[in-house]
Amino acid sequence: MKKLLLALGAALLATVPAAAQSDYPTRPITVIVPFAAGGPTDTVTRIVGEHMSRTLGQQLVVENVVGAGGTTASTRAMRATPDGYTIITGHMGTHAASVGLYPKLAYDPRKDFEPIGLIAGTPILILAKKDFPAKDLKEFIAYVKANGSKLNEAHAGVGSVSFTTCLLLNHLLGVKPTLIPFTGTGPSMNALVAGQVDYMCDQIVNAVPQVQAGTIKAYAVATPQRNPALPDVPTTVEAGLPDYQTSAWNALFAPKGTPKPILDKLSAALDKALSDETVRKRLLDLGSDIPEGKARGQEALAAHVKAEIDKWTPIIKAAGIEAK
């Protein structure tokens, strides 16, 4: 009898998703954002989320779950029912750098999530205090190499975007400055503006107004093309450090096992949002790069996650940084 009931239940369960898939979504979709409201990841999610809500005919509700560099939220999203009603905005930290940083990470970004698509990336800038004695990136490199450990580099916390991306820079230059930890990009930027630290790496959205006002210097942007938000800042390719290519990407993921038709609906809605003029303008105003053509979609994101994990893990291990 028990077996029969179980079988009946299983049969029922099997038919329910099939019916649900065709008219998905029938209720609001929760998008978990692993960082505080108002931050770059939150802002980007809300901008595309608003457009996707219109396409899907159901509201995308942002739920901010903060903690442990975004891994708390990612763990929760991994364990959510894979029915398309809970998805997550993952980023460079939660779905790539975390693998090297947290040996006891509860999830594998490659195996425990279904990719939906890249949203947008925020390019990284090499920044220094206003009176840093270098007029371009070449002089900056020479000066940093010559003064190495005497210099102070600020970052927004172990595991943050500014921390990992600057690890790569220091790794490429072969320098070990003193790392001054701050809690968040606000305080670290404050210290750079006040001249208490020498340099840092940060997302373009945080730095544009300061660079424009001349309160800090920007030496290069770590992307192949110049950024329209700061057209006078050269790329690392132009300025002589072509290997320094990095961007803080954000992407939508669903828990493993979410049915393919649902994923396709979400990917299509995201694709439509990223083609919309108003959405594009808002993202570009923030200095974001928007993935185009083949760089969009599920396969591209899966490949990107794998490549990013392979890129960051050795750098983080080499730096001897490991969180428990």
Partner: protein
């Protein structure tokens, strides 16, 4: 000077536009109502209401969010006075004398003086932001890690002075607060410490849960123990408005609190909290009869409430002039600005003067509206106290739990609050005061982080705290205060200032 008036005129023309005026009123109203729900402080309120502003023009959206901010700050004080639950860190001090006043049936006077004091502070702070915003920014930039550390040392000394009872017990409680604040992730290495492998603890213990547990929940437990007394308290509720004597006593405290708050508010980080604690310390120190403090002294409500309101307003200065958010609420405002296509930075003032000055003017209007909204509400809140306690306390508990849950959307925080409630009850039974512990808890991370930053920058040279002039000055001040506090103990005398 003429330019200032011109700018303010521009600001008022923007803020007084009917739409913006309406949004300002709506923001202040919503902020007050949500802020009154225990546990939902300004940060949670703005985060929840952020999507509502999407469809609004940028200036209107910011004016509304700013209104929510003051409203929620003020709402936090209301719960501190009525039910001993501080909505956010700055209103911890308000519980000390505010709740005592409520117990004596003077809740109305406490709420009214908090509203009026805040309004006065808001008016002064608006002028400070408008006239001195720029020059004050450069002062704030002088504050590096060494200066912050020394400022936090001074804050710890304040915490000793807060104590009603014995100094050794107060120092013990500060240390307990410091230890609790060390739970979490090490800032330099990223290693977790004292988390016992619980992932939810990796970012530390939440302030709201701790404060609600040790103040609110434990108070409820104690009240249930002595239910009859509670009913007596409710019958004693007298006049709703402060008496002439109340106003005479409170006025100088309001003025001092406003000055202190305006100054400390510009410092990113703990400015708002320090100003409230600092103002309380100052009032107690200069009072003719310090023994009244902690037993319902109106200055103990008026000073800190004015100070934290002035500080919450001048804390807009770093955001508006530098574009750097000094605290979580301001970070949310930055998010709101970027969503509306404004990238906040040093040029907002020149590039978007209507936004900058409109926001400044709306601060003053927002404060005016808070008084208009809250004075009539005082009667309603006080009547709430007359609700039989057996009906009131389950409501308080449920609202608290909802509030805590919404902070991170996790049940873990609710469980933690319950545990802290038990701890708080144990504290009450042993005459250990939670206020110094909370100050230690709030200032602990700032103190530790800045100590480590300063030592890293100085490459391990500890004299940095004495060679930098501002830092040296603060250390000297702390030393003097501490000696004043400790000397009488050595002599074996009771110090009337610190111990009553």
């Amino acid at each position: 000077m003429e330019e200032l008036f011109h700018n303010l005129a521009l600001g008022f023309s923007v803020a007084a536009h009917p739409t913006n005026l309406g949004l300002c009123l709506l923001g202040a109203l919503v902020g007050t109502l949500i802020g009154v729900l225990p546990g939902i402080g300004p940060t949670a309120t703005i985060a929840m209401l952020l999507p509502i502003t999407f469809g609004l023009p940028p200036v209107g959206a910011l004016i509304m969010l700013a209104g929510i901010y003051y409203g929620a700050m003020y709402g936090g004080s209301t719960t501190a006075i009525l039910v001993n639950i501080p909505g956010e860190a700055a209103s911890v001090v308000t519980t000390l004398d505010g709740f005592q006043m409520a117990k004596q049936g003077r809740a109305g006077a406490a709420l009214a003086i908090a509203a009026l004091g805040s309004f006065f502070a808001g008016c002064v702070a608006t002028v400070v932001v408008a006239a001195l915003g720029k020059p004050l920014t450069s002062v704030a930039l002088q504050f590096g890690p060494a200066e912050y550390f020394s400022l936090m040392v001074l804050g710890m000394v304040f915490a000793v002075v807060l104590a009603k009872g014995s100094v050794p017990k107060a120092i013990t409680m500060i240390l307990v607060g410091l230890i609790l604040s060390m739970v979490g992730t090490d800032i330099e290495t990223g290693q977790t410490r004292m988390t016992f492998g619980i992932i939810e603890l990796s970012d530390g213990i939440g302030f709201v849960g701790l404060a609600m547990g040790v103040f609110g929940f434990s108070e409820i437990m104690r009240n249930l123990e002595v239910a009859e007394q509670r009913e007596l308290v409710q019958k004693k509720v007298t006049g709703l408005m402060p008496t002439r004597k109340d106003i005479r006593d409170a006025t100088p405290a309001v003025i001092r609190g406003t000055l202190l708050g305006s100054l400390l508010g510009i410092l990113p980080g703990g400015g708002t909290i320090l100003s409230a604690f600092g103002s309380y310390t100052l009032e107690k120190k200069i009072a003719k009869d310090p023994s009244r403090f902690g037993k319902g002294a109106i200055e103990g409500v008026a000073g800190p409430e004015s100070a934290n309101n002035a500080a919450s307003q001048t804390s807009f200065i770093p955001l508006l002039t530098l574009g750097i958010p000094p605290n979580a609420v301001m970070a949310l405002m930055v998010g709101a600005m970027t969503i509306h296509g404004i990238v906040p930075g040093p040029q907002v003032m020149t590039k978007q003067p209507d936004l900058f000055w409109g926001l400044v003017a709306s601060m003053w209007l927002g404060n005016l509206m808070l008084v208009i909204i809250n004075l009539p509400l005082v009667g309603l809140w006080v009547r709430l106290l007359r609700v039989p306690y057996r009906l009131l306390f389950p409501m308080i508990l449920v609202f608290c739990c909802i509030g805590i849950y919404t902070l991170n959307n996790t049940p873990f925080d609710v469980v933690m609050t319950g545990l802290f409630g038990l701890l708080g009850y144990w504290f009450i039974k042993h005459d250990l005061e939670p206020a110094p512990m909370l100050l230690g808890f709030v200032l602990g991370p700032l103190m530790e982080e800045n100590l480590r930053r300063a030592m890293l920058l100085a490459r391990g040279d500890a004299t940095v705290f004495l060679t930098r002039p501002i830092s040296a000055g603060l250390i000297a001040l702390s030393a003097i205060l501490l000696i004043v506090a400790v000397l009488p103990m050595i002599r074996g005398k009771r110090d009337e200032v610190f111990v009553e």
